[in-house]
């Protein structure tokens, strides 16, 4: 399976890029030339330097500096960390919550299943940005708040996927066998149904993490997401907005490229996973 994945050169390249991005995000404090949020390391005289400029202290700003003299390369490393944390954390929580609800609904059937799917249908009838906006308006700013909002936005996708996968599984013989062995409902759902519903959930998951990262960046750009103390890529782009009109493109453009690289590589990996898990496509 891994070999098959790597046979597609685009997917392999995307996976390599994604791995690099994750490593950079994980080790940002050690890789970044500067701690962009330690005010003692910032020099206002170095503000708005173009990419490649060198400071008086012979420090080279490869991607230039922002309005406060912050090294953009370091800011992007730290920003990636925040963006990925929010995207992955909300994705995992939503996967667990939505996946479990979906599988339980399929197993229980009847009223409970109908009710849950009705709620899912209603929510999916509204665009994610609108739901997220309502929630952020209600919850306020903060990393925890935005993760809650993103989980609320995403769980329905997972619930729908898990349910449709589990509905197919619930009538199979191995489930009947488990039932006749007298296993508890909980055990059947967790040990038998859930693992078999996992492949489609993983595919939805990759796409959803990319969505979550984009959505968080959008909300932060609008000033509704993360507080300025924890700048994600979206907030970095927003900060560069005012300088863009005067031709200082680098403050907004480079964080945007980092965001694009992240979302693109996740989407490409997700595309390949979807094709591999899809039995209808001849390979």
């Amino acid at each position: 399976m891994i070999r098959e994945f790597l046979r597609s050169r685009i997917a392999a390249g995307a996976l390599a890029m994604l791995a690099l991005i994750v490593l950079v995000a994980l080790f940002a404090p050690w890789l970044a030339p500067q701690n962009p949020y330690d005010l003692a390391q910032l020099d206002l005289l170095d503000a708005r330097l173009p990419p490649g400029a060198t400071s008086a202290a012979h420090f080279t700003y490869f991607l230039g500096t922002d309005g406060q003299g912050r090294d953009m390369l370091s800011a992007i490393f730290y920003g990636l960390r925040v963006s990925l944390t929010v995207g992955v954390a909300s994705g995992l929580i939503a996967l667990a919550l939505g996946g479990l609800l979906g599988v339980f609904a399929a197993y229980a059937g009847g009223r409970a299943e109908q009710l849950l799917m009705r709620v899912v249908d209603i929510q999916l009838g509204f665009p994610a940005i609108l739901v997220a906006l309502i929630l952020i308006a209600v919850l306020g700013k903060g990393v925890d708040k935005i993760i809650i909002a993103l989980v609320c936005v995403q769980w329905a996708y997972y619930a729908r996927t898990a349910r449709s996968a589990a509905v197919v599984e619930r009538n199979k013989e191995y489930v009947d066998a488990a039932r006749s062995l007298g296993f508890s409902h909980l055990r059947i759902v967790l040990r038998h149904l859930l693992p078999n519903a996992m492949p489609p959930l993983i595919v939805v998951g990759t796409v959803q993490v990319a969505h979550a990262i984009a959505l968080e960046a959008t909300l932060s750009f609008l000033g509704l997401g993360l507080p300025t103390t924890e700048p994600s890529l979206g907030l970095l782009i927003a900060n560069g907005y005012e300088y863009l009109l005067s031709g200082r493109y680098w403050i907004s453009v480079y964080p945007g490229l980092a965001l694009l690289a992240t979302i693109l590589s996740i989407n490409l990996v997700g595309d390949q996973l979807r094709d591999q898990f899809n039995p209808r496509l001849a390979r």
Binding site: P127, I129, L130, A137, V138, A214, L260, N267
Partner: protein, 325 residues
Amino acid sequence: MPAFILRRLAQTLLVLLVTSALVFGGLYLVGNPVEILVNPAADEIEKARAAAALGLDRPVLEQYWIFLKGAASGDLGRSFVFGRPALEVILERMPATLELAFLAMVMSVGIGIPLGLYAGLYPDRFSSKAIMAGSILGFSLPTFWVGLLLIMLFAVQLGWLPSTGRGPTEEVLGIQISILNIAGLRYALLPSLNLALFKLSLIIRLTRAQVREQVLLDYIRFARAKGLPRARVIGVHLLKNIMIPLVTVIGLELGSVIAFAIVTESIFAWPGMGKLVIDSMFQLDRPVVVAYLLVVVLMFTLINLAVDILYAALDPRVRLDGSRA
């Protein structure tokens, strides 16, 4: 069918009620609008007077009850900031948002379907692969960032188009519309292109997938075997059949374009209702935020309903029995 529509409307009412309660309660907890509205130098007595004038001195449940009573008769409260009925403020901004959404949809359908058709008919050509690669890129590009790049390129560097704001408007049937004259269209071009990009990618991919599925079916082979000209097979037989799923998606995407206009309007300072709601959120102008969300949720449900009915009309195999909502 009538039972289906009735059930749908009842469901809409429930969603509206939940949304209003959630937002009303949430914004009540977030902060006190009086602190923002009143002159910072104002003393406690002045603040209390302002709160009383806005009805903010009462318990939140009572405020919500008053709001619900008003809402039942079409009155969604007065904006704290504008001092006018919130619904009026929103409806005033609605044409600007709708014309942007309309233009974006025209662009994405007008460009997306031909490109998707081409990529689906000739999947192995290099140009088709380039189109598909472009659509993946369009999918992954964060909309707001693309908006900034568009401003940078076309407004700052090249100076071809205005960067922000809305152009001169013309009055049509009492509504101010800006895209009917060239000057106004120039202003609308960048924001609607920005808004269209994501939908364009979606429509390209969808059209291509549909075409590739349909060209293998017997009816196409039969039409060809009959000796019909290729243009007629593609333009009539094929196009008709790929339209069914496309209409559904296009209908649903119209709603999401209206919601996503929030972002585009904020970037391009386009005076539509999306920008209004973002500004109102920062000013804790609760009546406007609640009214906006209710209006948009209502628009959404109506669009979804229309799409479902249209779907049943286009495809006789679909029955509306109310079991699926």
